[in-house]
Structures are given as C-alpha cells and as structure tokens.
Subunit: 278 residues, 2 copies
C-alpha cells in the first residue's frame, strides 16, 4: 500500500489526523525534497521535528530519486505500507502523479490524503478562488533563455477579468553547467524566485511586448511563506511590491483581475498602509 | 481572537494538528452548517464525533446565523478565543470572507487554518490543477429560472483547452415558497445536485445554444464524497456518467479540456471499465 500524504503548507503541525495515523502505520517513510527542506525543520544531519512527531526515520527523496529510483519504494509498497510525504497537497506537482500512475499500473493500492496547497490557500487574501483563470509559472530568466509564455495567459485572464496565480521558480539540486561539461554532477545551491524578481521579469516582458496585459500599476498580492505562522501577505501595485523585502522563501504572486467590493475590502487589510502600520 | 479553521473534506480526522490545537484553546466553537451536516456525524440531537474529539460542545451556525447573527460571535471573539469551523478550506465560500472582513474591521485578530478544499482535491483524478480555467456553478433549474451563464465560461475554457470544475448546487434551509406566502418560514428539505442532474442541465443548454461548447461525448470526471473513505471517482463521457448512480452527496463534476498523456494515464484508472472491474 502506498500512502501519498499531503503535509500542508506551514510546519509539522499541518498534517491531518488522518495523515498522521497513516504515517504511523507505515514501515517506511519517504519525503519529497523538492520544497520540503524549507519549512519542515529537516536537515540532512540531525533528527527533524517530523521524525520526532512520527517516531520513525524519514528518507529524503529528491527529484532524481522520485523520477529515477521509484522502483525501490514501489517494490517496498508491494509488500508493506509505505508513506510518501508531499508538501501541500499530493497532486500539486506532476512528479507525484507519475509516481501514482506507476504504482497503480503495478497493482499497488494507492491512498491519497489531501491537505491545503498554494492553489487554494491563496484564497486567504480575499480574491475569490472561483474567479481565477489558468495558473502560470514564472521561470528564472537567464542570459540566453527568457521564455515568456506566461504573458499571453495573464493577458487572457485579465481580459476575462480573472485573477492569475503565478507560481515562482524553484531550482533545487540543479547540476551546474560547468560541472556537467566536466562530466561530474556538482549541484548549484538551491534558488527560489522572490516576488520582486518575478515582477521585474513580468515588467521586462511587458516592455518588450507592449500589449498592456498589465502595467506597474496593476494590483497584485504577494505571498511569502503562505500558511506558516510568519506568513507575509501584501497587496499593492507591481511598482509597490517591487520595493518590498518579503524575506525567506517560498514566494508566490497573484495578479488581480477585476475585483468585487468584498474582495476589495479584504485586500485592503493587506495593503501597504495596513501591513506596515501594525 | 477568531480562528477560522478548515476541517478538510472527509470526516473528523481530516482536521490538522494545528487546527485541533486551536479548537482546544477556544472557549466557544461554532460550525457552519451549510455543508457540514453531511459528513461530520453531526445531528441536531446527540453528541457528534466532532464534539467527542474536541471535548467541548459545538454550536451549529446556519447560513442565516452567519449572515445575520454574526454580532454574537464577533462580540465573543473580542474577549475570548472563538473557533469557526468550516468544511474544506476557510476561504472556499464568500460567506466566510464576509465574516472575516467584519471581524477585522472591528479590530479582532483572525487566524485562518487551511485545509484541503474541493478546489485542490479534484487534482486526485490526474487532471493537472494549473490547467483549469474559471470555475463554474451549476444552479438547480426551476420551471421559471434557468440561468446558464456557466455555458460561456465552459465554452471559453474548452476553447483554451482548459479543464472546468463545476460546483453543483446545494440548497440547505431554503424557506419554501408556499411558506413564505403564508408569512411563516418553513424550510424545504436539503437538496444536493447530483452529477446526472448537472449533466442533464448542461446538455439541455447545449441543445438550446448549439454552439458545441461540449457534447454528450465530452470527457468528464464525476466525483462523489471527494476526500472521504467511500469517495467515488468515475471518468467517462457525459453520456456515460449520466447513467451512473454516484450515491450520497456531495457531488462535483470536471469537464476535461485537452488532456496530456500523463493526465490520460491517470484518468484511465478511473474509467468506467476499471471502476467497476474492482
């Protein structure tokens, strides 16, 4: 049996009772490392708060292991209970869908235990979830690679008066280009896109395209560490948010479409003036 | 302090550890009744499983109470810790946003504790969450009231190759027309739209409009009791799902846009042939 268990967004206390019960039944516990090392008190050496809570060791499964080494834990799951822990909800990322497909194909029973994800927790800012269009991803621009397919999607959402959730790039365990050339993988330090970087890139693309999908005056909401006790949520124009230090990752950004009165009242609590008056 | 706590989708074990801690700190516990009476073992007489878990009584707050009688629990929240429990995630419904806005305006500190909602849990079927367009609501048609604004939204999503989540109508504590005429409120029994009813209405509108937003052959996924142990998920065409008895509420429906190979592999596990072979 393979349990795919969402841990939610904050820390070890965001697991559900159902999720915790399942972990306790499992013989082996894996945890995806893609985003998890951030908030869950896990480090490569030393017991984590999660391990204390579960009373058993956790094996960190990085992306390579999930994609290439899945055979190991699938064969374990055939004969025993295996937990695969995922930050947020289990089905936020394609990687986990792949794993579930493989397990099911091999006749392994899979039980998913849901939790909050960024996709629904952004509702906290007051912009109604049913008024979002397609979600976009903003990748880190490099000197030679500046993909901007997000532009049309934002443009379309805004022309339909819909809000847009922008997921910001995370680069964990990327082999450095230099090391690849030398034939030996050395990994870059992890890199998480900040809200100001995302906005810089967004505005750069707008300046190139000049189709007024958005502007420095467009209303946005920046979220850092959403769901944690020290989460930071600020509503303001792109120009305003560009100047704000949101602190530690993860960050994400919502570009507002047309807002309704209740949405505006709620956003107001997160506006610059109210945020920094407290 | 007002804690707005998401309970998740299944039963009492879907609360998070953080949510349970908060409930235990509260002097007064309210629970929205809009959808909650279904799955959480609550009845008007008799102790519920939730009350057993929390070790304290729960006051059911129906829609009227939340909208009209909010003064009571806001005044309590000024001087003590009050929990307001919500099925799913706290910000799934506008009603709760209203309540939070009112509390914040009165200077009451509000803490939201997130959980899974239908909006992200539908990810379990394999259709990727970032490929959904705007969410639509399908209201019960009556003889005189057949609003079909969902049609253009579905049409638009499908022309963009995006999936559409359809939330199906829930009518709880609606005064009967007859009783209103007599000047005394008598409530209709609760009514929950089933997947076949939703599809009938969808096809009726398509027959009227004839703009091919979708057809009886369009691929869909029906979800009943999503997140519960007895959840039922079936992928099939509208024509196929029309014939299926999904059992007890709540139901929701996803109309697929263009599907990718990984999405198709996953959907296949939920197809009619695989669903009823088990």
């Amino acid at each position: 049996m393979l349990y795919v268990i969402g841990l939610g967004l904050g820390d070890e206390r965001d697991i559900t009772l159902r999720g915790l019960e399942a972990v306790k039944k499992c013989d082996k516990v894996y945890m995806e490392a893609y985003t998890s090392l951030l908030s869950f008190g896990l480090s490569s050496n030393g017991l984590s708060t999660l391990e204390d809570l579960y009373g058993k060791p956790i094996t960190i499964a990085d992306r390579e292991m999930v994609e290439e080494g899945a055979d190991i834990f699938l064969s374990e799951a055939r004969h025993s209970n295996v937990a695969f822990l995922v930050v947020g909800d289990p089905f936020g990322a394609t990687t986990h869908t792949d794993l579930v497909v493989r397990a099911k194909k091999e006749g392994i029973q899979v039980i998913a235990i849901h939790n909050a994800s960024v996709m629904n927790a952004v509702g906290v800012c007051g912009l109604q979830l049913y008024r979002y269009g397609e979600t976009v991803s903003i990748p880190f621009f490099t000197d030679t690679w500046r993909p901007d397919s997000f532009y049309e999607k934002i443009q379309r959402n805004r022309s339909l008066e819909l809000h847009t959730l922008c997921l910001l790039d995370i680069r964990v365990k990327e082999p450095s280009l230099e090391s690849l050339c030398r034939g030996k993988k050395i990994y870059e330090p992890p890199k998480y896109m900040t809200i100001p970087t995302a906005i810089e890139q967004l505005l750069e693309v707008e300046q190139m395209r000049r189709e007024s999908a958005y502007s420095p005056d467009t209303a946005c909401v920046g979220f850092a560490r959403l769901g944690s006790e020290d989460q930071m949520i600020v509503a303001g124009s792109m120009r305003e948010l560009l100047e704000i230090d949101f602190g530690a990752p993860l960050h994400c950004l919502v570009i507002a479409g047309k807002t309704h009165p209740v949405e505006e009242e709620m956003l107001d609590f997160y506006s610059l003036k109210n945020n920094f008056a407290e």
